[in-house]
Symmetry: C2
Subunit: 196 residues, 2 copies
């Protein structure tokens, strides 16, 4: 079941919803709050979305689909060198994470509020994204610049990156790209990228 954000109006509403979901959390965000933020009355909201859960699904789909597109594009453009691909992927991850910050925070922390049907569809999207990572990490393992179990390494790296939404300020001292490079440098101590 594809949720689809066809109309531009709906896409805008989804963006606003994402912001509120981050501020308040899904459960504490009422349809009346959502409607007010959108400049309409609460009843009108159900013309665009069949129920509150569909709004959540729309938010998460939007963010995940974007992440997938950006990562795919970045990988296509960056050549075959395993170290470069690893760095590219880390950069792409943080780039989306802070470009679509609201949508991703919702995806990471409100995942469980999805109803089962939407959850199944969105898990496929997320798995596709994770597969890109496992692929890149596989290359790095074969090249001998990383060590360990492929899935384990992927999850450790994704964990470290996703956790950044908890403490990193994108307007602070470091750019997302620098942050990504620092993580890769920590993992690949043979390269002399101990700058910054």
């Amino acid at each position: 079941m594809n949720v689809m954000n066809a109309s531009p109006r709906r896409k805008e509403l989804t963006r606003l919803a994402a912001q509120l979901f981050v501020q308040e959390g899904f459960d504490r965000t009422t349809v009346r709050m959502l409607a007010q933020e959108m400049g309409i009355k609460s009843g009108s909201l159900f013309h665009h979305f069949k129920d509150k859960h569909e709004i959540l699904a729309a938010v998460i789909e939007e963010g995940t689909q974007n992440a997938l597109n950006i990562a795919q594009q970045a990988l296509d453009d960056c050549g075959r060198d395993p170290e470069v691909r690893l760095r590219t992927m880390a950069r792409a991850h943080l780039e989306t994470l802070f470009a679509d910050r609201n949508a991703h925070v919702v995806a990471l922390f409100e995942w469980r509020r999805l109803d089962p049907s939407a959850s199944a569809h969105l898990r496929h999207l997320r798995d596709a994204y994770e597969a890109l990572w496992v692929d890149v990490i596989d290359d790095a393992l074969r090249a001998g610049i990383l060590h360990g179990d492929r899935f384990l390494v992927a999850r450790f790296v994704l964990g470290a990156l996703n956790w950044t939404v908890r403490w990193y300020d994108p307007h602070g001292a470091r750019t997302p790209d620098e942050l990504a490079d620092e993580l890769v440098a920590m993992l690949l101590p043979n390269a002399d990228t101990t700058n910054v």
Copy 2:
């Protein structure tokens, strides 16, 4: 303001609350559900806790205090070698994370539902815990077995470890200790700890 879990009755109620908060999330857990799980009526609950938010604070305090104690103890017992200390800290972290799993999952994902007064007190506890980590990582940096910015490395490592609650099954193939060792091995490729 210390929340305190003085009475043993209250401690038991806190443990049950943690379980429900994990299952349902704080917002979706009603006082009636909590009361039923505890074998009492919803009104009686407010004899033990002044309001629902105090239950959340009690859960989080319990878990964080435990983590601090365990880590402190483990560090006191493990000598001065930086690599050993790093491994010890990672093991201690995963040990608490899955021993007091419910309390920690709540602490990680329901943090924002705390009211400001409790939040301030508990942030101090958490900062004290994070300080232990920064200390250990400082040693590792000075010894040259890790590279990068001290806070950055600490947060990447904590991110990778905390994220494990999302995918790791403590009853699966790997013990928490093995998991911790794999992470350290990934970070310290000079050591030949690529076993398991």
